[in-house]
Amino acid sequence: MFLQNGTPDTSGYMIAGYLIAFVVMGLYLASIYVRSRNLKQDMSMLEEMEKADQPKAG
């Protein structure tokens, strides 16, 4: 390909590359957010359960 005269048009590959890079970073950020939200929900549920158990134990 690079033996041809002039600069080849490889902009499609460049766009695909940057698109994938941003999508992967975005997905990772989203995964951190979702896992964090789920853990916060778990924690509040566990804390409520603990509070509910305390009067019974007392």
Partner: protein, 232 residues
Amino acid sequence: METKPLALTILDIVSILVLVIATYLALVFAPTELVMGDVQRVFYFHIGTAWTALIGFMLAALFSVTYLITKNLRWDRLEVAAIEVSMVFFFITIVLGSIWARPAWNTWWTWDPRLTTAAVTELIYAAYFMLRQGIDDPERRARFGAVYALIGGLSAPITFFAIRFFRTIHPVVIGGGNAAAQGGFNMTADMRVAFFFGLFAFTIIFIDLFWHRVRLGELQNKVEQLKLQSSI
């Protein structure tokens, strides 16, 4: 979970800014490489992500040693965070490299020493998470993970030096001189600006994501402790 520190909020903003600037420098500011055309521009993110990922894997090995010495689970959380963020960055490195290879080498993939060591590194760390998934006891999981991360950490320098030790078609842009390399190029002054800013930007973004991942690990730890307490 503790409220988000102000420093982390500032780091989030700085990370977005440096990512925007790095993208501008790579796509607009840097000149088009005459032989490869625009696809060469993926190089700025390819190297930026590779640099931070390989440092992250070696940092994880360092955290694993510290865990094995101190037995403090905080080091385990740092190790996991470093590996996870590095894996994401290294995945981007490999995909960008493959996209660049298609017009440059006329193939998406070849079992060249650099590409092979990079793929093996990524798989080693994918197996690291599988190993951890299979162990319930936190201390046992941390111990096994630390030993694995320590041995796995060797793959990072092997990957880095693969293009310097072996005959390979992968170009060495900095300090290169590999006769077999295909697709190498000399950087102009403007390309160097985009290149070094890319390294800086991905280092900042790595630190930011790492911090977020460490906080997530701490939250996971609290939930695990609460679950253990409630089951007693």
